[in-house]
């Protein structure tokens, strides 16, 4: 009948009540749906493998073949003190780097969003360059600098590097927020008797704080997972990714899988909670 020949425009997400018993047809939409899930499955495969092998009752150091299920690696999570300290190093660097780049990036982002000033063009260019430059080159050039300057490598140089590539990301996020900030809100504060300082801390800062926070989170994520730039600037310091990299050649202990799983779980949980909170807020609008 008529309904079955109908080509549905894509906009309406709902089905017609007219199609009382919709025949299962192979539609473009259905194919796309299946395809999308296939891609998602593919994306998840290595994660699933990582998680699974954290439960592998492997006898030796080579966690490669399935030897039965165990929880023991969770109990022996901190058995490799150097692995543990690599993780701690990563966390410390990520915290310091994200806070630092948060502060520096906020300054740039705020200035770019708020003022027109000479040099903002070049600044934008440098930011664009840091965002689009290959990490390899940034790492290599930093190494060149440190080597030329005769500076040793270690946590400090790693942090410097991480701050460097995170600043622009923070700045872009903050700038976007500041640009959409209604200037008259700050004028309103002045109008209500607030001086410049009070206006910034009581009005502007709280309003752009969520953007700063997402910038800092982004920087944290970039830092803790960074491998390439870190490889060039680490010297003998081991971060979590570097430790894993080193261990690949000689077998990765199941503890790495466990740590990976835990980081994954915390990240996912955090994202889900943040999402639920923001969607609750959205609903109140």
């Amino acid at each position: 009948m008529t309904a079955s020949t109908l080509q549905r425009p894509q906009s309406s997400g709902t089905d017609d009540a007219a199609q009382l018993k919709p025949k299962r047809r192979i539609t473009g939409r259905g194919m796309l749906h299946t395809y999308t899930w296939l891609i998602i499955a593919w994306l998840i495969v290595p994660i699933a493998v990582m998680i699974a092998f954290g439960f592998n009752d492997t006898p030796g150091r080579y966690n490669q073949t399935w030897d039965g299920f165990t929880f023991k690696w969770y109990g022996r999570l901190f058995e490799y003190s150097d692995l543990t300290s690599a993780l701690v190093t990563s966390l410390v660097i990520a915290v310091v780097a994200s806070l630092l780049s948060g502060a520096l990036g906020t300054g740039i982002g705020y200035a770019l969003g708020r003022y027109r000033f000479r040099g903002s063009g070049s600044l934008n260019l440098i930011m664009f360059a840091t965002i689009s430059s290959p990490e390899l080159i940034m790492g290599a050039s930093l190494l060149s600098l440190f080597v030329s300057a005769g500076a040793g490598l270690g946590p400090v140089t790693i942090t410097i590097a991480h701050v460097m590539f995170s600043i622009s990301f923070v700045a872009v996020v903050v700038r976007a927020r500041v640009m959409t900030l209604d200037r008259s809100i700050e004028e309103a504060a002045a109008d209500l008797g607030a001086n410049g300082w009070t206006t910034f801390w009581k009005v502007t800062f709280p309003i752009i704080l969520p953007a700063i926070f997402s910038g800092v989170l982004l920087a944290f994520a970039l830092s803790i997972d960074d491998f390439i730039v870190t490889a060039f600037t680490a010297g003998t310091t081991k971060t979590f990714p570097l430790w894993i990299w080193g261990a690949t050649r000689v077998g990765i202990p199941p503890q790495v899988n466990v740590m990976g799983t835990l980081i994954f779980a915390i990240g996912v949980l955090g994202a889900v909670i943040a999402n639920i909170r923001s969607s609750r807020q959205g609903k109140r609008d």
């Binding site: 008529t2 109908l6 425009p9 709902t14 009540a17 007219a18």
Partner: protein, 385 residues
């Protein structure tokens, strides 16, 4: 064209044009499914829109105007019933195969194409020859006064100009009907008024049926040949602007279109087709009464503010044949062309009285003045529902 067999089914009000109506709904019903629940958007509707008519759908938000429009365009299929265009059943025919075009509220111009390309889009799809496209686009751009803007992209144009591109893009295809869904909603007052005039001019020029959705009653009144007032998925009244304004079929219509003064009371007497409602010795309302009205019935009477005369003293003899209500002026608002008085009447209701600041009009009253309102019985009417 043969007379379609469904012609027996007619909309409430006959279409003015001869032959098959440009657009016809027969028993159309539309439900949406939302979160598993059925949302009735348009309830059983019959409707015929004549050839060349400027037809408006008027009603509050969510009443089903857009849904009606989208069923004509082919973006939604009716849950039940049929849609005819020029007498042909188009139910189930997809949008790109229907010979009607739509002007969207947000314009929906193709942002990556310039004016010329936007306007030529439909003709290209129809495989019209290049030279012919050029000719027709040029022609229509002239009609909408956009000659010379061919190369501009949408974001390089003002709201009003974009609006006209959207119009040209639809009109250039010479559709059987043009559907306009709140086309002026996004424009500011001045531009809106200007575009109203422009639209009316263009419609006259091209002679195409316009189906116009708006929730602005002023716009509907000034522009339309006929108006359908919708409420909760149902057409409550269909008629010319004057029919609808002066004889609203329901309380809803009366309230939605223009300002109405509404007063209620119990019938004291029915005489010569007129019902009399008394409030005090002097205060009374006389209204043409339906056959069914009996003494003691409770009635609601509606009077438009421009029909009322306001007197500072006791009203002249000639007025006393009709209604008289005394009261006190609580607000006087000067509007330039007119002055509006708000009067707290003896009948309990607050009345608005509209008075043109005409050549012979003095200031009728000041705030606090004691005044009398009078009007002829034929300018008031009982309201249903």
């Amino acid at each position: 064209m043969t007379t379609p067999q469904h012609s027996a089914v007619r909309a409430r009000s006959a279409a003015p044009a001869a032959g098959a109506p440009a657009i016809e709904f027969v028993g159309v019903n539309k439900n949406y499914l939302s979160h598993g629940e059925t949302v009735p958007a348009v309830k059983r509707t019959d409707l015929a829109i004549g050839q060349g008519e400027f037809f408006s759908l008027l009603g509050p938000s969510g009443c089903g105007k857009t849904t009606t429009m989208r069923m004509i365009a082919g973006f939604e299929e009716p849950t039940a019933g049929k849609v005819f265009l020029d007498g042909q059943d188009v139910t189930g025919v997809s949008a790109n195969k229907r010979d009607v075009n739509m002007v969207f509220q947000s314009y929906a111009l193709f942002p990556h194409l310039n004016t010329y390309q936007n306007v030529a889009f439909g003709l290209e799809r129809k495989k019209v020859a290049k030279s012919e496209i050029g000719r027709r686009v040029g022609e229509i751009l002239e009609i909408v006064s956009l000659t010379g803007m061919e190369k501009r992209s949408p974001k390089e144009m003002s709201g009003g100009q974009q609006q006209r591109v959207a119009l040209a893009r639809a009109l250039v295809n010479r559709p059987r009907a043009l559907l306009l869904d709140e086309p002026l909603g996004a424009l500011d007052l001045k531009l809106r008024q200007q575009m109203q005039i422009e639209l009316k001019r263009i419609q006259r020029e091209v002679g195409i049926t316009f189906v116009y959705v708006t929730h602005d009653q002023g716009e509907a009144l000034t522009m339309s040949d006929r108006i359908a007032v919708m409420n909760a998925g149902v057409i409550e009244q269909l008629g010319t602007p004057r029919e609808i304004y002066e004889r609203p079929a329901s309380r809803f219509v009366a309230g939605f279109i223009g300002t109405s003064n509404i007063v209620d009371g119990h019938v004291d007497r029915v005489e010569g087709g007129l019902a009399l409602l008394s409030y005090t010795a002097q205060d009374r309302v006389v209204v043409p009464a339906a056959q069914s009205v009996r003494q003691g019935d409770k009635l609601e009477v509606s009077i438009r503010p421009e029909k009322i005369d306001l007197h500072r003293g006791v009203p002249p003899v000639q007025a006393t044949g009709g209604s008289v209500l005394s009261g006190t002026v609580t607000e006087v608002v000067y509007h330039g062309t007119s002055t509006n008085y708000t009067v707290a009447t003896a009948a309990g209701a607050d009345f608005t009285v509209f008075d043109q600041n005409a050549s012979n009009a003095d200031d009728l009253a000041d705030r606090g003045d004691r005044v009398y309102l009078t009007w002829a019985p034929q300018h008031s009417y009982m309201i249903g529902d």
